[in-house]
């Protein structure tokens, strides 16, 4: 009953100033629309760029870095203990990039409940031979099935069928850049030289396009067995173990744990891609800042219209008070006006924001670097909508609060005397 009465007074005041009320609401709508559109667009962009790296990256990678032995022979000699040693004669060995005991490690990891999947890898340094010239590159030996399952390998094989890599012996999927340089078609035989000087012929079964041009100019893929054959190593030879975990946040912790348990190097995705994290968070920050600025501007619009309304409706406020409306009733009338503008404008803003996002989602965005992307990406995270509506309500409430407070304090005697 009481709310209804307050509401009828509020709405009649708004109707009396319909134009200004609408302008104030449009301000909020505009602010919210931009807020939603901007955040959805930036969110989509972030996902796209992050996906480019993180979707294709292991959460934890185990590897052995070529590094010198920590204990040089001179350190072991008791008579030189306590002296400063600068003789380091023992250089790192080539075999150090192999992960020892890889089979055991993989079996242990498979039983670990925190791990969602593993994929072994071998990196082979090679020279691609084109006629009389060679150029350096690398071939990743992969477990085709695991790689497809964990890192969407198939998405990036733009020509040819990825599974042929597993089914055809001595086959290779060339990086798009490599293939262009070598003028290699599907089905062609190409020749590579391994670092040990052996020449091997491989059959091209597809092209690979990661979206990172530099990478595609040097990197190709082969099955793990092919890679082992290239190196002349046994079937237990592995240089990397790529791990996907269930909880991404746990990755740094697990990396540390595995490094000490398996006595290998381990790097987590957060450390490996710190620069991408920074980029994403800065972009998000900018979107929030712009959106919030727009809302604050809209808040000033509401503040203005309410002040004007109060000035114009001084007489009405006086008579309401004279006939028994209390200061808080009057305050509620104006706060309700502000909130109505905020909520209506805000909801419309959400709707428009959603529409704009959907339109952007349809805009074609074709680039050779991103073979899997056809249109601009949009992230319709409900979080954005919740933040937007809460923010519009809070801003409009604050914008309405001060004028409303002023109205509640108006002294009817002064107004009536002034006549």
């Amino acid at each position: 009953m009481k709310i209804k009465l307050i509401a009828t007074v509020s709405f009649s005041l708004m109707l009396a100033r319909l134009k200004q009320t609408t302008v104030a609401a449009v301000g909020v709508t505009f602010g919210i629309t931009m807020f939603i559109t901007l955040l959805s667009f930036m969110g989509g962009l972030n996902d796209l760029l992050d996906g480019l790296i993180t979707k294709r990256s292991p959460h934890v990678r185990l590897y052995n870095e070529v590094q010198p032995s920590e204990m040089q022979p001179v350190d072991i000699l008791p008579q030189y203990a306590g002296c400063h040693n600068f003789v380091s004669s023992v250089k790192p060995k080539n075999e150090m990039s192999e992960i020892y005991n890889s089979r055991e490690i993989m079996n242990t990891l498979k039983r670990d409940s925190r791990v969602s999947g593993i994929s072994p890898k071998i990196t082979v340094q090679v020279f691609y031979n084109i006629g009389s010239i060679d150029f350096a590159g690398s071939i990743n030996g992969i477990d085709v099935d695991a790689e497809a399952r964990l890192f969407s390998f198939s998405d990036y094989v733009t020509t040819g069928n990825y599974i042929d890599l597993k089914n055809t012996p001595n086959s290779i999927i060339l990086g798009k850049g490599v293939a262009d340089k070598m003028l290699a078609d599907i089905g062609d035989l190409i020749q590579v030289t391994t670092s040990k000087g052996e020449r091997v012929q491989l059959k091209v079964v597809g092209y690979f396009q990661s979206g990172l041009l530099d990478l595609d100019k040097v990197q190709s893929y082969a099955s793990i067995t092919t890679a082992q054959k290239l190196l002349g190593e046994s079937d237990s030879y592995i240089t990397d173990i790529q791990i996907k975990v269930n909880d991404l946040e746990m990755a740094p912790e697990l990396a540390k744990e595995y490094a000490s348990v398996f006595e290998t190097n381990a790097i987590d995705i957060q450390t490996a891609n710190a620069q991408f994290e920074t980029g994403s968070s800065v972009r998000t920050l900018i979107s929030y800042a712009v959106g919030i600025t727009l809302l604050i501007v809209a808040g000033f619009g509401i503040y203005n219209i309410l002040n004007m309304m109060i000035y114009e409706k001084m007489d009405s406020i006086a008579i309401l008070k004279a006939t028994g409306f209390s200061g808080s009733d009057v305050k509620n009338v104006f706060i309700l006006i502000a909130l109505t503008i905020g909520v209506l404008g805000g909801l419309l803003g959400l709707l428009f924001g959603f529409c704009f996002s959907m339109i952007i989602d349809q805009i074609p965005f074709v680039t050779a670097a991103l073979p899997t992307i056809k249109t601009y990406a949009i992230n319709c995270n409900p979080k954005f909508y919740i933040i937007a509506i809460i923010f519009s309500v809070v801003t409009t409430y604050l914008a309405g609060y001060f004028p409303a407070k002023k109205a509640s304090k108006l002294d009817p005697v002064i107004i009536i005397r002034g006549k």
């Binding site: 009953m1 007489d315 009405s316 004279a322 209390s326 009733d329 006549k419």
Partner: protein, 230 residues
């Protein structure tokens, strides 16, 4: 002796702007049920000031004010608003109708605020009041489409909606022509005679005042004489 509706004891009022100036000087006043009283005095003698204090809108005064036997000292703003809503009907020189609302809605507003009757009942009562004042045919119009006399009658209907203990008027006929002033007098007189309504009306019109129960004469913020006519 009939029951007291309103009593003011030793009311003093000062304004401090620009210099301290005593506007009301030891005002003592009682209004009983059914009394139709008028306040007369020169312009600037403090009539309006007295009325604002008696209607609880002005709380900065010295002395005591009793409405319906209850002391109005140390009441919260909300409680005073409630007293005005329930017990006092105020008619100003200017009508103060809200142009956004129809006539009937204007009359209903204080009734809806009271929350004693349902909206339907308040509407019914508002019609009754408009009928009493002979303007029920204007009920659905907007106030700005009415004549000055009609507007003032709507304002009176609004003052009556909660069946107040007392009606106060600050020169309610001040803006009206002779004919309309007469209509307003007739209405007030009928309310007093027929419905035993108490009224306290400020007026400059001796013809108006001479036909009421009591004339309270003020000079320079003090009551100098109270003439009982009947």
């Amino acid at each position: 002796m009939s029951e007291l509706v309103l009593e003011a004891r030793n009311v003093n009022k000062y304004f401090h702007d620009p210099v301290t100036n005593q506007v009301l000087k030891d005002v003592n006043l009682t209004i009983e049920k059914g009394v139709f009283a008028t306040v007369m005095g020169k312009s600037g003698c403090g009539k309006s000031t007295l009325l604002y204090i008696l209607s609880t809108m002005d709380t900065e005064y010295e002395g005591e004010l009793f409405i319906d036997g209850v002391n109005m000292r140390n009441r919260t703003e909300k409680e005073l608003a409630r007293v005005r809503n329930e017990k006092i009907g105020f008619v100003f020189q200017f009508h103060y109708l809200l142009n956004e609302f129809s006539v009937i809605r204007n009359v209903m507003l204080p009734g809806l605020k009271l929350e004693k009757y349902s909206e339907k009942e308040v509407e019914h009562k508002a019609y009754e009041k408009l009928k009493l004042l002979g303007i029920e045919s204007e009920a659905l119009k907007k106030p700005n489409h009415l004549s000055g006399g009609q507007k003032q009658r709507v304002a009176i209907a609004r003052a009556l909606i909660n069946d107040p203990l007392i009606i106060m008027g600050d020169e309610p006929t001040g803006n009206l022509d002779k004919k309309n002033s007469e209509v307003v007098y007739e209405i007030f007189n009928e309310l007093a005679e027929r419905y035993n309504q108490s009224l306290l009306i400020v007026t400059h019109d001796p013809e108006f005042a001479n036909r009421t129960h009591r004339i309270i004469e003020m000079v320079d913020g003090a009551i100098t004489n109270i003439v009982k006519m009947k």
